[in-house]
């Protein structure tokens, strides 16, 4: 029993390590690490001290974005740290840090020795990319308040806080499961056999199947949980976010992890929206609302105010 557990732990650690490491490998023995800093700087860390005369020569460095090799980005200034192992290249224009950059370095000179030329790939940590997608789907492009999807279920399930939380959790679980399956199906079946025109039919079937699957598994594995959350399962199919997420990840050609974080973000965003709306609607019950606005109309106005507030997230960028 113990060995199985430690085996799982090992796999988990390896997976997380793989996620972190993908951004750090450099391909040259003398270069330890590369990475972006702010929006216009690239930082290179060397294994040993480099010569100041070599480092201050701008002509030794040239960089471009991976998809556009013919657009060379100009280096404005180079700053060498006091222990001479860390080099900061400051570029003239802000860099598009979402894209991988290729950095060519001519003969690296270290204490009079030539360490050879290097061609480095500078990119954001993959983990950072995933977090950007997740937070983007949850807050910046919240599916309810900025994409206006899933409104039927949103207004139907936000009368009480307990209902809101139940629906949000069930939806997050099902959508994460369904989106991962949709990604696999799209990448390994639909695309290779050129059946992408069947996207809609396949994805809606897949979502219904995953709902049925989660239903069956939950009923057998944990009947108590099923009693609490089973009612919400049916409603997941009626939610257009559940079909929008697979379509989006197919349109954007996301990878498996990216699809998963998009689905997770969509679910969390839906949960946040539902919960906030339920809090307000519980208070609205006590408020004096004009009779013709009771119920749905006033809920729409409140949702509009939330949508205005969510516009404020549009400038947010974390990684």
């Amino acid at each position: 029993m113990k060995s199985i557990r430690s085996y799982h732990l090992l796999v988990g650690v390896l997976l997380i390590a793989a996620l972190f490491l993908t951004g750090c490998e450099t391909g040259h023995k003398f270069v330890k690490k590369t990475g972006f800093k702010d929006t216009d700087k690239i930082v290179i860390t060397f294994a040993g001290p480099v010569d100041e005369a070599w480092a201050s020569n701008v002509a030794n460095f040239s960089a471009y974005e991976k998809p556009d090799p013919d657009i060379v980005l100009t280096v404005k200034e180079i700053v060498l740290s006091s222990d001479k192992t860390k080099l900061t290249l400051i570029f003239e224009a802000p860099l598009n840090t979402g894209e991988a950059h290729i950095l060519n370095i001519k003969n690296i000179m270290s204490e009079g020795q030539d360490m050879g030329a290097a061609m480095l790939t500078v990119k954001k940590l993959y983990f950072g990319v995933l977090m950007t997608i997740l937070i983007g789907a949850a807050l910046i492009n919240n599916f309810v308040f900025t994409k206006y999807l899933g409104l039927c279920v949103f207004f139907g399930c936000s009368q009480k806080r307990s209902t809101a939380i139940g629906m949000g959790i069930v939806f997050t679980v099902v959508i994460a499961f369904a989106a991962t399956m949709a990604w696999a199906l799209y990448q390994f079946v639909l695309k290779p056999y050129q059946l992408t025109f069947l996207n809609i039919v396949v994805f809606i079937g897949l979502v219904s199947l995953s709902v049925q699957g989660v239903d069956t598994i939950l009923r057998k594995v944990n009947p108590i949980l099923f009693k609490a959350f089973g009612v919400y399962l049916v409603l997941v199919i009626a939610n257009c976010i559940a079909i929008a997420v697979p379509l989006m990840l197919a349109d954007n050609e996301y990878t498996g992890w990216e699809s998963f974080s998009l689905a997770l973000g969509a679910g969390i965003g839906f949960l946040i929206a539902l919960f906030m709306m339920a809090c307000v609607r519980e208070k609205l019950e006590l408020a004096k609302v004009p009779p013709s606005f009771k119920g749905l109309p006033i809920a729409f106005v409140v949702a509009g105010l939330f949508a205005l507030a969510f516009l404020g997230f549009s400038g947010l960028s974390i990684y």
């Binding site: 900025t146 025109f197 996207n199 929008a244 379509l247 606005f293 006033i298 949702a303 509009g304």
Partner: protein
């Protein structure tokens, strides 16, 4: 069974007025909020919904006696998905600009509650002709509601109707902002409720 006594014309008018999908039944709200920024969007999406609704209603009505009751919902879903795929490919091929403007919403017709509901409540029980008129009424009702919303938002937001400058100035730019959709739909619903309340009061007096 009041539905059975209705004539075709009544079915048709009911879909547009007293059972209007957006204002009265409050179903398929997503496009009503999301892309009702202009009358043109309303017409286009309305046409797409009309097509899907009529075709699915007729299809289900034709095969209604062969569907096993246990698998009726999946059958409806797949039927709708098929027709949505058809209209999706047609729009993408012939109207690429308008298709882009509507974004995901054309493909999301597949998840519109109104269509499934009509299939379940009506087309699975009634003969072809009646289902056709019911579908036509519902589709046109949706189109009508989308056009009204688009009219209000386009007129108040940019002072234009169908791209023609009517007012010559922009009364409230706020209305073309995407999030104003919530306010417009909410206020319109309140307005329809208010009319009903006033009407009832008059009747009582």
């Amino acid at each position: 069974m009041a539905i059975k006594e209705k004539t075709n014309t009544q079915l048709f008018v009911d879909g547009i007025l007293s059972e209007n999908p957006i204002f009265r039944l409050a179903l398929s709200m997503c496009p009503a909020v999301g892309i009702s920024t202009s009358v043109m969007n309303g017409i286009l999406l309305g046409t797409a919904v009309l097509f899907v609704q009529v075709c699915s209603s007729c299809t289900i009505s034709l095969v209604r006696n062969y569907i096993h009751p246990k698998i009726r919902i999946p059958t409806y879903t797949l039927t709708i998905a098929t027709w949505v795929t058809v209209i999706d490919l047609v729009l993408a091929a012939y109207m690429p600009v308008a298709y882009k403007a509507m974004g995901l919403f054309v493909r999301l017709i597949v998840a519109f509650a109104i269509i499934t509901m009509r299939l379940e409540m009506f087309a699975s029980r009634e003969p072809l002709q009646k289902s056709f008129f019911d579908g036509l009424g519902m589709g046109l009702g949706f189109m009508f509601a989308m056009m009204v919303l688009g009219f209000v938002r386009e007129l108040l937001g940019s002072g234009m109707i169908l791209g023609y400058d009517v007012l010559g100035f922009k009364p409230l730019l706020f209305f073309v902002l995407p999030c104003a959709g919530f306010f417009v739909v909410g206020i319109m619903m309140g307005f329809f409720n208010w009319i009903e309340v006033v009407y009832k009061r008059k009747k009582e007096v």
